[in-house]
């Protein structure tokens, strides 16, 4: 059975019982024709008179308990319901004849005056008040802690007490409902003793019988003693016995009745029921006394002792006056004196619940109820003051004026308000101490974490406060890291220890919800289960999710309370509030962390840009017959493009390398530097660009997989005006030869894959012979792919046209012209990629 079903069943039982109790009250306090007789509800072939109300028509007519009513108002009646029909037809104030059997067959006819009196009297009202008090206390406790076994039992006990007081200890009536009510009350009488004893065997902690000297070693006790000890230590068999005894007694009574042997009744129930109730009450008191003297925790001991005191004072008179006197001495005259002190039982429980949070309930009587009581007291004072004033001013004309009362009211009200405020503080202190502590702790925490930017210190502070405010043996905070892991922020440990990846748990906790017991979590993945098991093995009992804007930030894990008590609703509320505070603090700390990271990153980027800039040649090489112009415009702080000239000592050759690394920023920049160095180093020993690329490709491939670099390596011989080249992933340079009429792309090599894309690529070399006046234009794809706001790329054709347009004139002007054309095309759109180009003109 699920917890929810269990709870619903208990509530259903409770409210059904309450309905029966209400019916009983309605029966007792409805004005109907009444003869003052309490019938025995189980009467057959006549109505047995159980009791006769003093001063009633029946008493005046001489009807006595034990008489059997055979007829009412000229009709024969067999049962209380027959009698009810006849009575309902009678007129209030009239005298109607009753046929009474006094002994077995001695019948007399007596006239009985019918009154309109209600059957319920102050005694019954008092008993009903006790029952209803029990019910509401039980209901309040149960609604707070429905999953607690002792609380469920307590609720059951309270409901049974309600039925006992309202339905069993009531005078019978003729109404049809009476039999139903009385039967319900009788059933409660069967079950109540067992539940009473059961409750005190598990409250405040399940009893275990410890035999002196047993601690010396297991197995020391003989088998019989061991079996007895196990049986008495809350074994299922013990509870079975406790619950089985009352039905066995009732079956015996039933058998005796069937066999024709007399069964003595007390208040309509067999005397054995009452005797059993007495025995169970005494045993229950014994169990409670045992707890009061043996509990380790002094505070708990004090609580239980006060409950014991109230229960003893409430129960013992009932055992004596309500059970022993009637059963042993056949005297039922003093039963009420046994019942009267029983009000102390619910009151004691209520006091213990309010004062000590007994059964883990913070406040049984809500603030409003207390204040209502307080207001009633104050208004009683007000009424007293008015009465006093009336007496005082009675002789004066002033008092006869209507305005006097109004004026007096205006004077008194501010005084009463002052009085109310004065009273409120001590009441709060008396009944809401725990709440004050929580509020104070929350205030301190909110002040402390508001200005705290260190996640570690926030965690330290929160866990420390939780430990002190909730009086738990330990607390730990886990924060969800950027990669989704839970990270423990342990106190006293400056280092962060990585928690498990607990996806199931995180998913489970993703919705903002109440803190819940560790064992209530059932994640479906093994890591979460392992994580929870680990927490449990370390003594953690409660998890509280830290949620910010429906995003799980982390969780708080709490160990058991020092008092061993369960976490109640008030604790959970406090913890939830605290988790909300923590969520805000964590988010703030995260943001602060983020900002710090970004600042550091920006600083690193600036450094990287400086380094990258320093890698570009500060000046162009000087070679007779050649002149250069160009540059690089990075799209971000640090670009992926690069170029460089490689000079060989004493050689007319000049190497030129231009590259574009996949990705941007610092990693791309680092690869760029590495590629440059590889090419630079390789070029010293390898003249053929194709071969150089083949070698370099392998090394670049090793550096970082899935990162590659587009390179073009051009080896220019200024003496012969020839240029051999290899191109991997780079666009083909343009050659503007005036005699050709416009720019043309150089002949492409066979293999043009970027370097580092594959391990082995058979790059080949092409060669071109230059002429004076030739203009070579090397560029990266940033130029051709520069896009306008409508994502239209600048393109190869436009670049060729631009080059053709600006080819004449100074080389710098050509460069500026081409850049101007590209910028014009791009307009306000963001620069998509680094733009790097180099112009080389053959002048000789």
């Amino acid at each position: 059975m699920t917890l929810r079903t269990h709870r619903r069943l208990f509530l259903l039982f409770g409210f059904s019982a309450f309905t029966v109790a209400v019916l009983s009250l309605a029966d007792m306090f409805t004005r109907r024709p009444n003869d003052g007789i309490s019938p025995d509800p189980y009467s057959r072939e006549g109505v047995m008179v159980h009791a006769v109300a003093k001063g009633s028509g029946a008493e005046r007519a001489g009807i006595r308990p034990g008489d059997v009513i055979l007829g009412i108002n000229r009709r024969i009646v067999n049962s209380p319901s027959d009698a009810s029909r006849q009575l309902l037809g009678a007129r209030i104030g009239s005298r109607i004849p009753y046929l009474i059997a006094r002994s077995r067959e001695s019948l007399v006819e007596l006239p009985v005056q019918i009154s309109g009196k209600r059957l319920g009297d102050p005694t019954y009202l008092y008993e009903a008040t006790i029952g209803i008090l029990f019910f509401f206390i039980g209901l309040f406790v149960f609604r707070r802690r429905p999953d607690d076994r002792a609380v469920s039992l307590f609720f059951l006990l309270c409901v049974l007490f309600l039925l006992f007081f309202v339905c069993r200890l009531r005078p019978s009536s003729y109404w049809w409902i009476d039999l139903f009510v009385q039967n319900t009350g009788t059933i409660s009488l069967f079950v109540l003793p067992a539940v009473f004893l059961h409750f005190f065997l598990v409250f405040p902690r399940p009893k275990r019988l410890v035999v002196a000297g047993e601690e010396s070693g297991p197995g020391a006790a003989p088998f019989v003693a061991k079996t007895v000890r196990e049986f008495l230590s809350g074994s299922p068999a013990l509870f079975l016995l406790i619950y089985a005894v009352p039905p066995v007694f009732s079956i015996i009574d039933l058998y005796r009745q069937t066999a024709g042997r007399p069964v003595r009744l007390l208040s309509g129930a067999p005397i054995s029921c009452w005797e059993l109730l007495g025995v169970y009450l005494l045993l229950g008191l014994g169990a409670l006394a045992h707890s009061a003297f043996t509990l380790e925790n002094t505070r708990e001991r004090r609580q239980v002792f006060e409950v014991l005191l109230g229960t003893i004072v409430g129960t013992l008179p009932f055992v004596f006056f309500g059970i022993i006197l009637p059963s042993a001495f056949h005297n039922e005259d003093y039963v009420f004196w046994g019942i009267a002190p029983m009000i102390l039982i619910p009151l004691t429980f209520a006091y213990a619940i309010v004062r000590f949070q007994l059964l883990n309930v913070q406040v049984i009587v809500r603030r409003s109820l207390l204040y209502t009581a307080m207001t009633v007291v104050i208004f009683a004072l007000y009424a007293g003051a008015i009465a006093a004033a009336n007496t005082l001013f009675s002789g004066l004309r002033l008092s006869s004026s209507r305005l006097f009362a109004f004026g007096f009211f205006l004077v008194v009200i501010p005084l009463l308000e002052y009085l109310r405020r004065k009273l409120q503080t001590p009441i709060d202190k008396l009944f809401f101490r725990e709440k004050y502590d929580y509020q104070k702790a929350l205030l301190e925490i909110s002040e402390a974490v508001a200005g705290e930017l260190s996640l570690l210190r926030v965690a330290d502070y929160l866990t420390a406060k939780i430990v002190s405010a909730l009086r738990v043996s330990g607390a730990e905070m886990y924060v969800r890291d950027r990669d989704g892991s839970l990270v423990s922020r342990e106190r006293r440990d400056e280092r962060l220890s990585h928690g498990a990846r607990v996806r199931g748990l995180l998913r489970d906790l993703a919705e903002p919800e109440e803190p819940s017991a560790l064992l209530a979590r059932c994640p479906d993945d093994a890591e979460s289960v392992k994580f929870l098991n680990d927490l449990e093995s370390r003594g953690f009992r409660l998890l509280a999710p830290i949620v910010y804007r429906r995003r799980l930030m982390g969780l708080l894990a709490l160990k058991r309370k020092l008092s061993d008590a369960d976490f109640d609703a008030e604790d959970r509320l406090f913890l939830k509030t605290l988790a909300n505070q923590a969520a805000t603090a964590i988010e703030t700390a995260f943001l602060h962390d983020e900002m710090t990271h970004q600042a550091e990153f920006r600083r690193d980027l600036e450094i990287a840009r400086d380094i990258q800039t320093s890698l570009f040649p500060r000046r162009f090489p000087v070679r007779p017959g050649l002149c250069f112009a160009g540059g690089s415009l990075p799209a971000r702080v640090v670009g992926g493009d690069f170029y460089d000239f490689l000079e060989f000592d004493g050689s007319p050759r000049l190497g030129f390398v231009m590259g574009d690394v996949s990705g941007k920023s610092i990693p791309a920049s680092l690869l760029m530097v590495a590629s440059r160095e590889i090419i630079y180093a390789g070029s010293k020993g390898i003249e053929d660009p194709g071969k150089l690329f083949r070698e370099s490709n392998r090394r670049i491939y090793e550096i970082k997989k899935r990162m590659f670099v587009a390179l073009g390596y051009f080896l220019i011989d200024s003496r012969t005006l020839s240029m051999s080249y290899a191109i991997g992933g780079q666009p083909l340079p343009m050659l503007h030869r005036p005699s050709n009429g416009g720019p043309q792309l150089l002949e492409p090599p066979t293999f043009r894959l970027p370097l580092g894309a594959l391990r082995d690529v058979p790059y080949d070399t092409r060669e071109v012979y230059l002429r004076p006046g030739d203009l070579l234009f090397f560029y990266t794809d940033g130029l051709t792919e520069a896009m306008d706001s409508e994502m239209e790329p600048f393109g190869e054709e436009r670049l060729m046209e631009s080059l053709a347009r600006h080819a004449c004139g100074e080389l710098e002007n050509t460069a500026q012209g081409i850049l101007s054309d590209v910028r014009r095309h791009v307009g306000d759109a963001e620069q998509y990629d680094d733009m790097t180009f180099m112009l080389m003109r053959v002048t000789k």
């Binding site: 000229r74 067999n78 046929l99 059997a101 019948l107």
Partner: protein, 451 residues
């Protein structure tokens, strides 16, 4: 629609359905056919009054029901039965009228109608069969009534009691049951129970003379003569011409020993009765009183009155009664002769024959006892008083007790004191104050002390 709304609507629907089902189940199903609700109420009132033996009121209700619904078959059936109960005459036109609508009514009504018709046609077996079905299937009062009356008439007292008890569970306000069960208990000597039953009847119908008369009769038979007189006087207050009360008052005063008052009431009874059989009975009471007083002249005067009555089956009781007078006079030989002259007509009812034979035996016993032939007397009386079930009437019981006292005396004379005392004790269980029993007890003591 929210979950809460769904729950509220669902819960409401369940409650309404439950209430409707409860109303349907708790509403009594009508098994009688009428177009008028008022007629049905009149029928129910009539049935209730009938059970309480308020026949006139019951008749009024049934007639009213028939006015409101002329085709109300069950009202017709009840009225026919009521009229038969009162006058022993079957209202055939009404029965035929009911028969016309037989096919339009329920099974229960058809059964009741068929039962009444079977009864009217003198088919007791068929009537009893139908009565049993009506009782078992519908717990119908008519079924119970017929079965009970049949059991009572046949002397099956215990069976009658069982059916009455069952009927009382269905309807505790049943005058017939209390009256008959009261008498039945009295016949068996269970007087407290008999009185309790009749007190219930008296409580139900304090304005009827019958329950008080019955109570008086039973008190008288039980020797509680003052209470008997009180109740019988109350019966006469209610109905001054209730002639049975005079007879019972006579018995009460006779038991009390006030023979003058007893004679006065027997005479009143004799004067009030209408038919020969009742007059014979009244004269018999007077004759017994005269013989008790040994006023033989008066006895013979009463015998002359008896001789003027015509009894069923042409029985002539004069020789038998003359023999009794002679026996009281001590003329035993003449008495024997006279007794021999008595003969029952051959065609008389077997029940009557048995009864009269017993009377003859008892007379013979008295003659032998008077003659001092105790052994002979004891033998005859033992035979005559052999018990076959309970007594058939209180008068029968009273006579049995008188002769049982005589038997006790005969047994004592024979020295069978234990048997004699047992007979006296048995008598006292029925009537602790009967004169003959006390005389027998005294004689037994005397003989016992002498022996």
């Amino acid at each position: 629609m929210t979950r809460r709304t769904k729950i509220l609507i669902g819960g409401g629907a369940i409650l309404v359905a439950a209430a409707a089902a409860a109303a349907f189940l708790l509403t009594p199903r009508r098994t009688v056919t009428t177009t008028s609700a008022e007629a049905y109420q009149e029928y129910l009132h009539g049935r209730e009054d009938y059970l309480r033996w308020y026949f006139r009121e019951a008749r009024g209700h049934y007639e009213s029901a028939l006015e409101k619904d002329p085709h109300f078959v069950m009202a017709m059936v009840e009225l026919v039965n009521l009229e038969y109960k009162e006058s022993h005459v079957v209202n055939r036109p009404l029965l035929d009228r009911a028969q016309k609508d037989r096919d339009l009514v329920t099974r229960r009504e058809r059964l009741a109608l068929d039962l009444t018709r079977a009864f009217a046609a003198d088919k007791p077996a068929e009537a009893l069969r139908l009565a049993r079905v009506l009782k078992d299937d519908y717990r119908d009062p008519l079924g119970y009534r017929i079965l009970c009356e049949a059991a009572v008439n046949d002397g099956r007292a215990q069976e009658a009691d069982a059916i009455y008890r069952e009927w009382l569970k269905a309807d505790p306000n049943n005058a017939s049951a209390y009256n008959d069960m009261g008498y039945s208990a009295a016949y068996q000597g269970h007087y407290p129970e008999a009185i309790a039953n009749l007190k219930r009847y008296a409580f139900m119908a304090p304005d009827q003379a019958n329950p008080f008369d019955s109570l008086g009769e039973i008190y008288a038979a039980n020797g509680q003569y003052d209470l008997a007189i009180e109740n019988l006087n109350r019966a006469l207050q209610i109905k001054p011409d209730f002639y049975l009360a005079f007879d019972h008052l006579g018995m009460a005063y006779e038991g009390k020993g006030d023979t003058a008052q007893a004679r006065e009431y027997y005479e009143k009874y004799y004067a009030q009765v209408k038919n020969d059989m009742d007059r014979f009975h009244a004269a018999n009471q007077l004759l017994r009183l005269a013989l008790r007083d040994k006023d033989f002249a008066r006895a013979r005067e009463v015998l002359r009155r008896i001789a003027a009555q015509k009894l069923p089956y042409d029985i002539d009781p004069v020789p038998l009664l003359e023999a009794q007078i002679l026996a009281y006079e001590g003329k035993n030989t003449e008495a024997r002769e006279e007794l021999k002259a008595f003969a029952l007509p051959a065609k008389s009812d077997p029940k009557i024959q048995k009864y009269v034979n017993r009377i003859v035996q008892l007379a013979e016993g008295r003659i032998e006892f008077n003659s001092g032939n105790y052994e002979e007397a004891a033998g005859i009386l033992r035979e005559a008083l052999k018990k076959e079930g309970s007594d058939q009437s209180l008068e029968d019981q009273s006579m049995r007790l008188r002769y049982q006292a005589m038997l006790a005396r005969a047994e004592a004379h024979l020295g069978n004191f234990a048997q004699a005392e047992r007979l006296v004790a048995d008598n006292r269980r029925y009537n602790p104050r009967q004169r003959e029993t006390e005389e027998a007890a005294a004689e037994i003591d005397r003989l016992k002390s002498k022996s």
